[in-house]
């Protein structure tokens, strides 16, 4: 099998699983789960096969294969695969972390009523996500991008009987639509820039040549490139949940926990970052666009981290943490290094998936999501707790866990490029340490508030936890950063100052949380009343939901009502009804002619014949 054929097969396996699972009868439902797992494992195995040269330390030869799809003048569109080191890295993350989470779901969802629906949705998601990663052109990527949005909607609303879940699904879908609308316009703009009319193409390899040529053709083209790239970035804002389109991600935690782990932490929300990395050659043409990307990423990082401190739901804390970490990745790419952003994406996928799966184990055992109702989990669920600690360790970025390496790359990049963003990012490390330690101190340490007997989950759930824990721990030593940029790593040394500062901030955050949340209730209360106004702002999520509510209620809704009025009164009553009335009136007049008497008709007929004969003969004879 050639490498290109394997790439097609990677896409095919999850799709086949998705199509076959609904055919399985409810009595044999476990087969559906195993089928989904089999599809994912096969995809993972093929990915490893393609990526084998990388594991052997050889340079990876990228390749591109395609079949013609839509051929119309001005647009040659193909359905293709583009496998380079970037997509191989992303494929490894998606299928690798995906396999672990699929396997974990077998046990987690075993009692669920919608078991087959769940695994069918998960397979559809895997298919769409792999489609994004291997897409060879922007439009194909956009199609899979929308499919990912759909499967995310289906999985968030898995427990659709619950109103919150159904609403969260809608919110996620609609928020993404806003971003994707801009993305589509951005794609169309890029298409118009891509060379002469006859030879336009949205293929990435072509765009990387034609768009720079367009930019160099005239000085005034720069502003157009900036506009197009910012529109593409609006798609990233939606999918990767960056400010101001971040509002859907915390609500998306209404879905099953493995879904949160796979889609809303490790892979789908990383699709935006992947798109940034994929189109980075185009972004780098516009320094202004990159600067906006960097600042929005940095802002989201600190903005979300502050909100994570006051959340009480274990999954929501992790959701805000995801927002914050995605902000880091977007910032890194905005500062000019797609490789570093992708590096953090990879390590983050390991430890964030692990955190969510750990939270899933806790929820599975306790049926409780409020951290204040947990406590003392470390003693009762030692394996889950240890893996959770390892993941938190990596998230905060302590040596030697994987997060240390990727985060320090980002920090030192920021240190060199933009001092302001460096301090923002460094302070976010402190906040990260603070909220993770708060979570651990409150939920895992101290005295237990749960009466019933807790137990560790079974082997099926512990195995993925262990695998991800190992990856989170040693991810920094695997040479992931060399896959994308073999040379850059050695070119600049991480400043010792940066490492020391980040670690110091991390320890500071841990100590603050440790002393505060282990102190007596009285001190905590006094502190909380002192900071009540700030706390209120954070709990209300900086009033972002209220702001959107106002926007919808006072701008979008009146506008929609005006359109509805316009449609009903002007279009339907004015145009449609009046057209019908005119037809009815003319019919009313004309029907008088229909006497129903054959002789009347015949008279008209003869009279007509006489006129015709006159016109054709006599009038012509004597002009």
């Amino acid at each position: 099998m050639t490498a290109a054929a394997s790439a097609w097969w990677i896409l095919f396996f999850p799709l086949a699983a998705f199509l076959l699972i609904p055919l399985i009868p409810e009595k044999k439902r476990t087969l559906g789960g195993w089928l989904a797992c089999a599809g994912m494992f096969c995809a993972f195995a093929l990915t490893v096969k393609i990526a084998w040269p990388i594991f052997e330390g050889q340079p990876f030869h990228s390749f591109h294969a395609s079949i013609e799809w839509i051929l119309i003048p001005n647009l040659q569109l193909e359905f293709g695969v583009l496998i380079d080191s970037l997509s191989v890295l992303m494929l490894l993350v998606v299928t690798g972390v995906g396999s672990a989470i699929f396997y974990y779901s077998l046990e987690y969802m075993a009692q669920d009523e919608g078991y087959r629906r769940y695994f069918a949705g998960l397979s559809l998601f895997a298919f769409s996500m792999i489609g994004i990663v291997i897409s060879a052109n922007l439009l194909q990527l956009f199609i899979f991008w929308e499919l990912v949005g759909l499967s995310s909607y289906l999985l968030i609303g898995h427990w659709y009987q619950k109103n919150e879940a159904a609403d969260a699904g809608k919110k996620a879908f609609l928020t993404n639509r806003v971003g994707d609308f801009g993305f589509l316009i951005g794609i169309l703009l890029l298409w118009t820039f891509s060379g002469a009319e006859a030879a336009r193409s949205l293929n990435f390899l072509n765009l990387n040549v034609t768009i720079p040529a367009f930019a160099q053709a005239s000085a005034s083209h720069g502003i157009w490139i900036t506009l197009a790239m910012l529109l593409v970035f609006s798609g990233v804002l939606g999918k990767s949940a960056q400010f101001p389109l971040h509002v859907w991600l915390p609500d998306a935690m209404e879905g099953p926990t493995p879904v949160s782990a796979l889609i809303h932490a490790a892979t789908m929300v990383a699709a935006g970052v992947y798109l940034l990395a994929r189109t980075f050659p185009l972004f780098s043409l516009s320094p202004a666009a990159l600067e906006i990307v960097a600042y929005l990423g940095g802002f989201t990082a600190i903005f979300a981290a502050t909100q994570a401190i006051v959340q009480n739901d274990i999954k929501r804390i992790l959701a805000y943490s995801t927002l914050s970490q995605l902000g880091y990745m977007v910032m890194a790419i905005g500062l000019g290094s797609a490789a570093i952003g992708m590096y953090h994406l990879t390590t983050h996928a390991f430890f964030k998936a692990l955190l969510f799966l750990g939270a899933g184990s806790v929820i599975h055992a306790t049926h409780e999501q409020d951290i204040w109702n947990m406590g003392g989990l470390a003693k009762k669920m030692p394996v889950t707790s240890v893996t959770f600690f390892i993941a938190s360790f990596a998230l905060v970025g302590f040596w030697p866990a994987s997060g240390f390496f990727s985060k320090d790359e980002i920090l030192s990049l920021a240190f060199l490029e933009n001092k302001f963003l460096f301090w923002v990012a460094a302070f976010t490390v402190f906040l990260t340490a603070l909220y993770m330690s708060r979570l651990i101190v409150v939920a895992f340490l101290g005295t237990s508030k749960i009466r019933k007997k807790l137990h560790e989950p079974t082997q099926k759930m512990l195995l993925p936890l262990a695998a991800l824990a190992v990856l989170s721990l040693i991810g920094g030593f695997l040479g992931i950063q060399n896959i994308l940029s073999p040379a850059s790593h050695s070119s600049h040394e991480t400043p010792v100052f940066v490492v020391a500062l980040a670690t110091a901030f991390g320890i500071l955050g841990v100590l603050a949380a440790w002393f505060f949340y282990r102190s007596s209730r009285k001190i905590q209360n006094r502190f909380q009343t002192a900071f009540a106004p700030i706390r209120e702002i954070l709990v209300r999520k900086y009033y972002m939901d209220d702001l959107y509510d106002l926007l919808l209620r006072y701008i979008q809704q009146p506008f929609a009502q005006f359109l509805s009025w316009f449609e009903r009164k002007v279009i339907v009553e004015g145009l449609v009804n009046h057209t019908a009335a005119f037809a009815a009136f003319s019919g009313f007049c004309l029907r008088k002619l229909q006497t129903g008497r054959i002789q009347t008709y015949l008279s008209v007929f003869f009279f007509g014949v006489v006129i015709l004969v006159y016109c054709f003969t006599i009038a012509n004879l004597h002009p």
Binding site: L590, R591, K592, L593, Q594, T595, G596, R597, I598, Q599, L602, S603, F606
Partner: protein
């Protein structure tokens, strides 16, 4: 007897038939009038055939006679059914199609 005599006779016959169709109040008379019109056409066909030495006109008139025969057969059958259904043969009363 020139061609004109035949044609004028044919024209007069056609006009008689037309007025019969338009004016009479009995379906059977109307059918007869249609026959007269058809025969007026036949007369001019035959006249032209003889004048131009072309048998085509005579052939067409034979066709017309055949069609007239079948038309009368169907027309009379319709008249019988009309009389059974409506009790009259007055076309003024047959206004079911009135708009």
């Amino acid at each position: 007897m020139t061609l004109n005599h035949y044609l004028i006779t044919s024209g007069i016959l056609f006009a008689i038939g037309a007025f019969g169709v338009l004016g009479r109040r009995n379906v059977i008379i109307i059918l007869l009038s249609i026959e007269i019109m058809l025969n007026a056409a036949n007369l001019s066909f035959v006249a032209f055939a003889s004048h131009l030495n072309d048998l085509g006109g005579q052939v067409i008139s034979l066709f017309v006679i055949a069609i007239a025969a079948s038309e009368v057969a169907i027309g009379l059958a319709i008249a019988v059914i009309l009389f059974r259904e409506q009790g009259t043969l007055d076309p003024e009363k047959m206004n079911l199609m009135k708009g």
